[in-house]
């Protein structure tokens, strides 16, 4: 695999040709915000937080998808990108019903953290207050669609790591929602193995462990990382 040289935020770095900009940046200690991206799962490109500016192109590109190229000049933290990222987080808050103070994931939520990182101290857009459901039919887990940001991490974790493909997305636009099997109650799902990988992957409090109360829930994201490393790199460090 040949090596390419590129510039990210003024820093000259080398990366192997098949790496994405996100990989290359992280390797060089440059943090690009992400929300739908999870190491070990396929890239989704939906949250748009990792959009970066690429010299010579007017189009912003998702760092999680875009491969590095020789001589590429990448900016990850311009004023425009900061403003757009803030608007993305505001859009997410406005489209769901996110009430951090009473959420199981309070203090352990990536959406909440992103809000802090982008400097969102209030919502400039209209809250839409959609009517969404909660499914508590599974004996161990529950899903509160009010808190779902449609990142599809659960869908990909279930499909790519567990191989069950219990989760998928139904509907479109603002009516999209993640569903189990053919939009059946989760508890009735014949394909769900109750492995909990969807719960581990969920960035918010949407998928939670039954019985967890406010700010009590940890997603045990490290377990997911452990699984990916074990599977892909044959490393079993705990």
């Amino acid at each position: 695999m040949s090596v390419t040289t590129l510039t990210i935020d003024g820093k000259l770095i080398s990366a192997s040709q098949d790496e994405t900009i996100l990989d290359a940046a992280r390797g060089a200690g440059i943090q690009i915000p992400t929300l739908c991206y999870v190491d070990g799962l396929s890239a989704h490109g939906g949250c748009r937080l990792c959009l970066v500016e690429i010299g010579g192109s007017s189009r912003l590109q998702p760092a999680c998808f875009m491969k590095v190229a020789e001589g590429m000049v990448v900016q990850t933290d311009t004023e425009k990108l900061r403003e757009y990222r803030k608007m993305i987080v505001e859009l997410l808050f406005a489209e769901g019903n996110h009430v951090c103070s009473i959420c199981v994931a309070n203090g352990n939520c990536e959406l909440q953290t992103q809000a802090m990182d982008v400097g969102m101290d209030h919502e400039r857009l209209d809250y839409t207050y959609p009517q969404r459901q909660v499914d508590l039919s599974h004996e161990r887990f529950g899903i509160d669609h009010n808190r779902c940001i449609l990142c599809t991490r659960c869908v990909r974790a279930c499909d790519e790591l567990e191989g069950a493909h219990t989760w998928d997305v139904a509907g479109r636009g603002s009516n999209s929602k993640v569903v189990t099997d053919l939009n059946q109650p989760w508890g009735d799902s014949p394909t769900c193995t109750s492995c909990g990988k969807c719960f581990m992957a969920c960035p918010t409090g949407a998928i939670f462990k039954q019985g967890a109360t406010v700010a009590e829930m940890d997603h045990h994201r490290a377990k997911l990382e452990f699984l990916v490393n074990a599977r892909e790199k044959k490393q079993w460090h705990v």
Binding site: H44, G45, G46, C47, R48, L51, L60, Q61, P62, F65, M66, K67, K80, E83, Y84, M87, I88, L91, L92, A94, E95, R124, L125, D126, T128, I149, L150, D168, V169, G171, R172, G173, S174, N175, S176
Partner: protein
């Protein structure tokens, strides 16, 4: 099948043609205004007059002036009748024998017809779309034979490149370059895909072509398959076009039976199979990556490009994706030569374009003109201007991805670059005329609502951004918005345009941005009407008024 067989079929077709042909439109527009009953009456009248040997009644494709349908034309005299009813239809047959014709005449010498060109629509309204013999009689499949027997794939691509043909789906990417890229990209299999997921409001060009001359599209695809090295083609047609799908199915079956599709076409080693995939109603499936996901049986959502389909498309293989109208140009270019095609149009936009003229205009229907034709000629000469003495205020092109061109730019030539300069796009060919009564903020809101409903929901800016933009536009329209809402609207438009994943979201703000650009005064007037503090009067109705 050999060339001589094609000639035999054509000769038989000509020999069997009776001296008089009565053509009745059987495309969806006229079908919806009762043309099947008209056709029935015409056939009955021929029977009862005993004219079967002398007069043939043919169900043909679109004759373009859709607003006056059903249209019936008698050949060879060329007399055209409009708004023909089952009651008035028999009089047309009676007229052949000197009787009085009560059916309403339509002036076939009117500018609507004489100012138009005929390349893509050359057979439309003239031949029977459901009979392959009719297509072969007008030199159909001759170009495919020529290509397979006389040309190398590289020569075909060169020919298309020299013709200057550009993608008719809207973006105008040079077709030859696209073909060459697919041809050069390595892959154990390659695919040709025809995008027939036409979905812009007010656009029905592709439907008309498919309903009027389906074999033309099949032949174009087969030629493309030969050029790029593909042996499998897919037509992705929206499910809302049942008649187009039915005619495509018939056409594919006929072509297969005649050996014009399938294996060893024209006794050459070239195999090409075409299958239809039917969309389930999602507009976003017109976007190429979403379309391919849908063909492969997945959820129709887009993926970031690169990689482009030409590199990694269907099942990760190089895939050529062109629009119906692009393919419909191919056989004509091969038949008549790239120089002929390049002689039509402008320096950078060659050939003709089919438009659907709709809205506040006298003549609505299908219009084919050389690229570079001034907008004014299309909407005023061909279209007849605004009805009821109205004045044209703007023309919307490019549907929900396009923009509104105000009347002062009516002399702009319609080509890819000129429309882009005005902040609109050619798009697939929808052209909606607006008169002085049209509220441009309402237009912007209408298109935003369309995009909001059609967003697939994968990326945040399109899924949630269009919802917010729609709210802002609704609030402005209701005179409940302040200047800060206007600022937010513009900022959010930029953001959705710059950050959305696919073309749907990236272009969703265009109608809004273009109406703000040209008709800011209408927005300002609504903000003015709201007055200061209007926004503070929120929906504050008290619930306990409903006490019991």
């Amino acid at each position: 099948m050999e060339l001589s067989d094609l000639h035999d079929i054509a000769a038989r077709e000509r020999a069997n043609r009776p001296p008089v042909e009565i053509r009745c439109c059987s495309a969806a527009g006229c079908v919806s205004s009762n043309s099947p009953a008209v056709l029935e009456e015409l056939r009955g009248a021929v029977q009862s007059a005993g004219l079967q040997d002398r007069v043939k009644v043919a169900a043909v494709g679109c004759m373009r002036l859709c607003c006056q349908g059903p249209l019936v034309q008698t050949v060879p005299d060329g007399a055209l009748y409009q708004k023909v009813t089952p009651e008035s239809a028999p009089s047309i047959i009676a007229g052949l024998q000197g009787g009085q014709v009560t059916a309403e005449r339509c002036d076939a010498a009117a500018p609507f017809f004489t100012q138009q060109a005929s390349v893509v629509l050359e057979n439309s309204g003239k031949i029977e779309p459901e009979r392959i013999e009719a297509y072969i009689a007008v030199e159909g499949y001759h170009a495919l034979h020529h290509v397979l027997r006389e040309m190398t794939p590289a020569e075909v691509i060169q020919t298309i490149t020299r013709s200057g043909l550009r993608g008719r789906g809207g973006a105008g990417y040079p077709t030859g370059v696209k073909w060459a890229t697919v041809a050069k990209n390595p892959g154990e299999r390659k695919y040709v895909v025809c995008n027939a997921d036409e979905g812009d409001p007010g656009a029905f060009m592709n439907r008309s072509v498919l309903e009027s001359d389906p074999h033309r599209v099949l032949e174009g695809m087969a030629i493309a398959g030969y050029a790029v090295g593909a042996s499998q083609g897919y037509i992705y047609c929206r499910g809302e076009y049942p008649l187009a799908i039915e005619r495509l199915q018939k056409a594919i079956k006929q072509a297969n039976q005649r050996g014009l599709l399938g294996t060893d076409i024209f006794a050459s080693p070239f195999d090409f199979r075409i299958d239809i995939r039917i969309g389930a109603g999602a507009f976003v499936c017109g976007e190429e990556t979403a379309l391919m996901a849908s063909i492969m049986g997945g959820r129709g959502t887009p993926t970031p490009r690169p990689p482009y389909p030409a590199e990694k498309g269907l099942w990760e293989m190089p895939t050529l994706l062109n629009n119906v109208e692009t393919f419909a140009n191919v056989a004509a270019i091969i038949r008549r030569g790239p120089e002929w095609f390049a002689g039509i149009g402008t320096e950078r936009s060659k050939g003709t374009k089919v438009f659907c003229l709709t809205g506040k205009v006298v003549n609505t229907g299908l219009v084919e003109v050389p690229l570079g034709t001034p907008l004014r000629r299309i909407v005023e000469d061909i279209g007849g201007g605004a009805p009821d003495g109205g004045t044209i205020k703007a023309v919307q092109t490019g549907g929900p991805s396009g923009g509104c061109i105000p009347a002062e730019f009516l002399d702009t030539p319609v080509d890819y670059e000129s429309l882009a300069k005005l902040g609109s796009i050619m798009g697939s060919g929808g052209m909606i005329v607006m008169d002085q009564t049209t509220n441009m903020v309402d237009v912007a809101r209408y298109f935003m609502e369309f995009c909001m409903d059609e967003s697939c929901g994968k990326c945040v800016p399109c899924r949630a951004g269009t919802v917010q933009l729609h709210r802002l536009l609704s609030r402005i329209l209701a005179a409940e918005a302040g200047p800060e809402d206007m600022q937010r609207l513009e900022a959010l438009c930029q953001m959705v345009r710059d950050t959305s994943l696919c073309g749907l979201g990236q272009t969703a703000p265009n109608p809004t941005l273009s109406t703000i650009h040209y008709f800011r005064a209408e927005y300002e007037a609504l903000l003015q009407k709201a007055g200061p503090g209007q926004r503070r009067r929120l929906p504050l109705v008290a619930a306990t008024d409903n006490s019991r």
